[in-house]
């Protein structure tokens, strides 16, 4: 028996040497990024850490009325650590933020200064306390483990950072599997997951303490299972349904953005039910699952989510001038987002060389053009690649759903709070990372087909470009950031 397990393991490893090498490489790379970047300098790390600490210390969700008072007792060590980081100028001098000045001028309006985090518990954590708790619960297990074996706050925080690599590996694996289902082309899937693994913005997010990492990983499992259901031959998909339900549950319990999957998920179930009418049990399970998903979503969302969500005071708009400002800022935001998606580095955004923007800009433009031409030619009957059209549509649907949500949120924030850059970070789109990268590659593929350049030339350029960017950013920005 033992021998047979050993043989199976050996066969498994032999057949997947390359895959295992890549996963190990991602692990090493992730460790360097998360270990190299100074603590609490990535997006909202203090806030997410505080939530984890609260859960671990108080063994309850931060929902009670005396939450801020409790927070003050449980975060003493954290505040001591922040104070050390704050008062010593050395670790902060290259943070691309003027922390030294922040120290001198306590009222600095900079929303991400250590000073404010140190002195304002509302800012430090309160806004994140309405988030669903799954990622924080996972983090609190690691926190308790770290504390049990005698780790200090800094060590526990790094442990939490390293745990994000686990979510990165899940994301890469399921991006590969998703791309394989949609394209049935192994090379295409390899290129998609290589780009994802090499994207500097992805590396940065998965180096941080942030519930985004869990959301992105679980979302990719959800996407994979949805596509499996869409693409499955006539058969019962009951097991897939159960898995999908739990994956969706995990995603929405990580961050409410997972709500965007509900239409796609219900659509997949209806499609599957209609396609397999004869499989009665299958249809029943599908209907029950669709109902369960919808009901769970409603139950899991915070109280007053919909009523607050839909409150837009149009009366606060101050004339056509403001409407024009809102629209122009929306366009600027989108323009920035396109680049941010590929190269955002949290606080380390610096003035990148123009050739990076130029090359990336040309690729994005060509990709968009490629997709438009693909569908134009498809409807004109110049080609009949229905398989690729279906795959592109499958990628577009979750993206469009997310875009509807974010556009609504942007206008809501712009009208109510006069904030014109939310959601202004590329990482907010990582929930549909694999579909976006697939569309990016598909678009370019079509342009290369039109100009009759072999597909592998495109793949070669893409891998080289993203590998180069990864090396450049690591050596030019991430490693020097260690001078913090």
């Amino acid at each position: 028996m033992k021998f047979s397990i050993f043989v199976k393991m050996k066969n498994f490893i032999t057949g997947r040497k390359i895959l295992l090498f890549f996963l190990f490489f991602i692990l090493i790379k992730g460790t360097i990024w998360s270990g190299g970047i100074s603590l609490f300098t990535l997006s909202d790390e203090i806030t997410h850490f505080t939530y984890i600490q609260y859960l671990a210390e108080h063994k309850e969700l931060p929902r009670s009325a005396d939450v801020l008072a409790k927070l003050e007792t449980s975060s003493i060590d954290l505040r001591k650590t922040l104070k050390i980081l704050e008062v010593d100028k050395t670790p902060l001098s290259d943070a691309h933020l003027d922390f030294a000045k922040t120290r001198e001028h306590g009222n600095d309006p900079n929303p991400i200064s250590f000073h404010d985090f140190l002195n304002n518990p509302n800012l430090r954590a309160n806004w994140s306390f309405s988030y669903p708790p799954l990622y924080y619960a996972f983090g609190s297990v690691l926190y308790i483990f770290g504390k049990t074996i005698g780790f200090d706050i800094t060590s526990i925080a790094y442990l939490l950072r390293f745990s994000a690599i686990f979510f990165l590996i899940i994301t890469v694996i399921f991006s590969y599997k998703t791309a394989l289902i949609l394209s049935r082309d192994r090379l295409f899937a390899i290129i998609v997951c290589s780009i994802i693994a090499l994207m500097v913005s992805v590396n940065t997010v998965f180096s941080s303490i942030n519930n985004d990492v869990a959301l992105i990983a679980f979302s990719h499992i959800v996407l994979y299972l949805i596509y499996r259901i869409f693409y499955s031959p006539p058969q019962n998909v009951n097991l897939l349904m159960v898995l999908l339900f739990f994956a969706f549950l995990a995603a929405i319990l990580s961050k409410p953005q997972a709500i965007i999957f509900v239409p796609l998920l219900v659509g997949a179930l209806m499609y599957n039910g209609l396609k397999n009418k004869k499989l009665k049990s299958n249809m029943t399970v599908n209907i029950l699952a669709a109902a369960a998903v919808s009901l769970t979503t409603i139950l899991l969302l915070p109280k007053g989510f919909f009523s607050n969500f839909l409150k837009i005071g149009f009366g606060s708009i101050n004339g056509t001038g403001e409407i024009i400002t809102i629209i122009i800022n929306d366009l600027i935001r989108r323009f920035n987002l396109v680049f941010d998606f590929f190269i955002q580095l949290g606080l380390f955004n610096s003035s990148y060389p123009i050739w990076i923007f130029s090359f990336l800009g040309v690729m994005i433009l060509l990709s968009g053009l490629g997709m438009i031409l693909f569908f134009y030619h498809f409807f004109k009957g110049r080609h009949s690649n229905t398989e690729k059209a279906k795959a592109l549509l499958m990628c577009l649907i979750p993206f469009i759903t997310l875009e509807i949500l974010y556009t609504f949120l942007y206008y809501r924030e712009a009208i109510i709070n006069k904030v014109y850059d939310f959601p202004g970070q590329g990482r907010y789109y990582f929930i549909v990372l694999a579909p976006l990268i697939m569309m990016f590659v598909y678009g370019l593929q079509y342009i290369f087909e039109l100009i009759k350049v072999p597909r592998r030339v495109l793949y070669y350029i893409l891998v080289l470009f993203f590998a180069f960017l990864n090396g450049y950013f690591l050596i030019h920005i991430i490693v020097p950031s260690a001078y913090l």
């Binding site: 490489f25 100028k89 001198e104 060590s155 610096s350 072999p454 070669y460 891998v463 080289l464 590998a467």
Partner: protein
């Protein structure tokens, strides 16, 4: 094979070249990413600009100021200390469409020293160049433009220090990378980085090889 080798070499060597070729460090100042600053003011037609700055690093060696240059302009740039003694001076010629002035000079040593940057623009070219002002945190930081104080505004700029040699850069990096990191990370970073340096070219090599062999094996 040669193509892959050359490609991997580019991916590995060029970023390393950037690292070794750049001796500046400790970027500091109110401007880091001007375009993300929500409140900025454009200053055109100025003849004299004065800005008080505090050097945040011990080897202040470079000053970067974002601009929009419409035509070629010759600027007189000066750094004086708080007692009025001339520290550095240079005539800088900006080209049309230039987006920033980068002025490198012999290092000025001493932390938290107060300096005043003075920029003189000839009358004939004063409309050819635009500077940017961003919110000031304190009265002492306010910019002086043509002898008029700009209320709550300061010039957008940043300062940098420079290492004497690449050895010093590596030594400092090795020391600073360990600051506020748990012992285990301090110990693991070097072996991990070595493993990464070894694995990165291999990983890229393998992917590129798969791509090049794709015609027979993977393309449908």
């Amino acid at each position: 094979m040669k193509l892959i080798a050359a490609s991997v070499a580019i991916v590995v060597v060029v970023p390393t070249f950037f690292f070794f070729g750049d001796l500046f460090y400790d970027q500091n100042g109110p401007w880091m990413d001007l375009w993300s600053q929500k409140v900025k003011t454009y200053i055109s037609s100025a003849r004299h600009i004065e800005q008080t700055i505090a050097s945040q690093n011990d080897k202040f060696s470079k000053l970067t100021i974002p601009i929009m240059a419409r035509k070629e302009t010759l600027l007189d740039m000066t750094i004086i200390n708080k007692n009025g003694a001339l520290m550095r001076t240079k005539k800088i010629n900006t080209r049309a469409n230039q987006q920033r002035i980068e002025w490198e000079f012999e290092p000025l040593s001493g932390l938290e020293n107060i300096y005043i940057i003075k920029i003189a623009i000839p009358k004939t070219s004063q409309k050819n160049i635009v500077f940017f002002l961003i919110p000031a945190n304190a009265p002492g930081e306010q910019a002086l433009i043509d002898n008029q104080t700009m209320p709550n505004k300061r010039l957008a700029y940043f300062t940098e220090a420079k290492f004497d040699s690449i050895q010093e850069k590596l030594k400092t990096l090795f020391e600073r990378i360990k600051v506020y990191k748990p012992k285990i990370i301090q110990l693991a970073l070097l072996p991990l980085f070595s493993a990464y340096v070894l694995m990165f070219p291999i990983a890229i090599w393998m992917i590129l090889k798969i791509v090049l062999n794709s015609k027979n094996k993977y393309d449908r």
